[in-house]
Symmetry: C2
Subunit: 383 residues, 2 copies
């Protein structure tokens, strides 16, 4: 009997179904983030590994070994990540930036952050330009508040940084044709020409330091594996432009509170995500209503145990809210054995989420005075 | 018997064959520039009419009557034209800017000039970015040297002005999809995504003053009729963005010296055009070798006369080199009657071409100190 086709979809514009991540990695043709590579990363980072990597949320890569080779030979890389500003950030967005901040700190490297206010306007018909710009400004404060070093952090806010990005994007756009973006993103003849062009702007930061300095500077992009098609295209054209292919570090999606494949909020699934703008009462309601791996009755759960792998709350513990590996193991074991009930588990995570949100909100006010100064507005040279 | 299909092609990317301009106007669905409208333009301009209009080289329009209505009611317009910098300017390019300068002077209106260094890089695979930027800078000097008023002249040099144009281009691009540009420009799936996007940037200047000032400012675009498809698209989306449709004034092409439909130099038809960079000896050689409407022998020409309408030299007299209407009539009559031979006619026009080139070269040095200051680099507002 043939193996059934997996019932999930993962593209930069759609994530749905119960994702088989090992299979997805095979389909995309990426490399496994092996224990050996993790050990190498740990050594290079000075002995510690970020929980997002250690606990397997970042699980796939392209060319990470090559990047570490070069790093070990004294060639520093830079980290690039981004955000499409369509609304407030939720927890899952911050995780990616927490990993970036960790990389910046441990490897002493520059961070480039792209805010794609143009793309979100082109991709979402319901959003005005004023809204994508305003959300871009709001999101940038939250991202910087994660703890980036202002002296080594550079922001491409697309509409404000276009003078810096455009000369390079012109070169990139010449290497990509309509059939390529059609195949990569599922575009159709009715896709607007902004969105058709956009991937040139998302590619430009990967090459920016190499272009600016006139020498090869390796790039590392931590991203959800759903974003891999964007950067496959970037990697395909890199050599033709004389720049190194960016290395990628792919994460699984943080599942939604309603049990969705990802904490995404396309449509109006407000209850699916924990937003930084949610007040305490809202956070509590969402957590209490969240989908778990629990049983139908307390008695049954005590007897048979629950299933952490399908639980949205366990995914939060795993991502950042379990502070130590011991704590994470205790929660996982308690869940599986039936000694920890879902209500108790939710009660235990709530104060940690509140503390995280409070800390983010306080840090956000501290970055406000210098946030604007991180935005790159001038190109290093005219062509 | 059905009328034969005309054997010519006119698109923004190709001009060939013997163009039937009346028929082309009908195919494109533009309006005839009638004697009534010319008389109105003459009155509004204070009593004189530019030879390019008076002698019928500008022969077609869209909404010119509407523009004059508004002008007569005290609402000034602005003029917009541009240049794709793929090499040195030739005489035909300058004619369009001479008309623009005349409009600026007679109607006391602002002039917007676009230099499309990005588009030329995307459209011509043989040109490097350094070349399109350098030609853009060179061409701009020649254009400004035509005599524009620095206080009322604004240049969009695409790669240098992108910060100013992009916020508006974002809005424009959202209104245009791939099938529209495919139909308008004959693009295919292998067209690069820069060229696909580009029409958004060529459209933005038409709306720029309206967008900047937050009120409707009419736009007049003098252009070769081959450029009409670009601006048809601009006109189609204008109302959806809340801006007035630009009015257009279309010219016939100046024929090439080798008898081509247009003085264009795609391919390596160097001898087809008179470039501003040509020295005197080159100009003389090209004029002496130019295609005319003359007969095979002097005797035959004396007896039967020549045909000015197909002659590349007569087209030059008509465009700007006949200084008065009397002189133009005398040359035309002499040609048709056989009293003026082609050699004599060429000998008579040569000093005028030399004088024009000398004057352009001198004026060019005078604009150099302030040319850069006309380039717009900042947007009026962020969205």
């Amino acid at each position: 009997m043939p193996e059934p086709k997996p019932s999930f979809v993962v593209t930069p514009y759609e994530v749905k179904g119960r994702i088989d991540y090992a299979r997805l990695r095979e389909e995309f043709g990426t490399q496994e983030l092996t224990d050996d590579l993790k050990a190498r990363l740990r050594r290079a980072a000075g002995g510690a590994l970020h929980p997002l990597i250690d606990r397997g949320i970042y699980y796939s890569h392209r060319d990470l070994g090559w990047l570490l080779d070069r790093y070990e030979h004294g060639e520093p890389f830079f980290v690039y990540s981004g955000r499409g500003p369509s609304g407030p950030l939720h927890v899952s967005h911050l995780l990616q930036f927490e990993l970036c901040r960790w990389l910046q700190e441990k490897f002493h490297v520059p961070m480039y952050i792209q805010i794609t206010d143009d793309e979100k306007f082109w991709a979402r018909s319901g959003l005005s330009r004023e809204e994508t710009v305003r959300w871009g400004e709001e999101n940038l404060l939250d991202i910087l508040a994660v703890g980036f070093d202002p002296a080594r952090t550079h922001v491409f806010f697309d509409s404000k940084s276009i003078a810096a990005l455009y000369p390079l994007a012109i070169r990139v756009a010449q290497k990509i044709n309509f059939s390529t973006v059609k195949a990569a993103f599922g575009f159709t003849p009715s896709t607007n020409i902004g969105l058709v062009f956009y991937t040139a702007l998302q590619t430009a930061p990967s090459f920016y330091p190499s272009w600016a300095d006139g020498r090869s500077v390796p790039c590392l992009i931590p991203c959800g594996i759903d974003q891999d098609p964007h950067f496959r295209l970037t990697r395909d054209i890199a050599e033709g432009l004389g720049y190194p292919k960016p290395a990628l570090l792919h994460s699984q999606m943080l599942p939604g509170l309603l049990g969705d494949a990802a904490m995404s909020t396309t449509g109006s699934r407000e209850e699916n995500a924990l937003f930084l703008t949610d007040d305490r009462a809202t956070v509590e309601r969402k957590v209490r209503n969240a989908f778990t791996g629990g049983r139908a009755t307390v008695e049954e759960q005590r007897r048979l145990g629950a299933t952490p792998e399908i639980c949205s709350i366990w995914a939060l513990w795993r991502s950042r809210f379990a502070e130590t590996d011991e704590q994470f193991r205790a929660i996982t074991d308690g869940c599986r054995s039936g000694s920890l009930l879902c209500g108790e588990c939710k009660q235990a995570i709530l104060p940690r989420i509140h503390a995280f949100f409070d800390q983010q909100r306080a840090a956000r006010e501290k970055v406000r005075p210098w946030a604007e100064s991180t935005i790159v507005t001038r190109p290093p040279h005219p062509t």
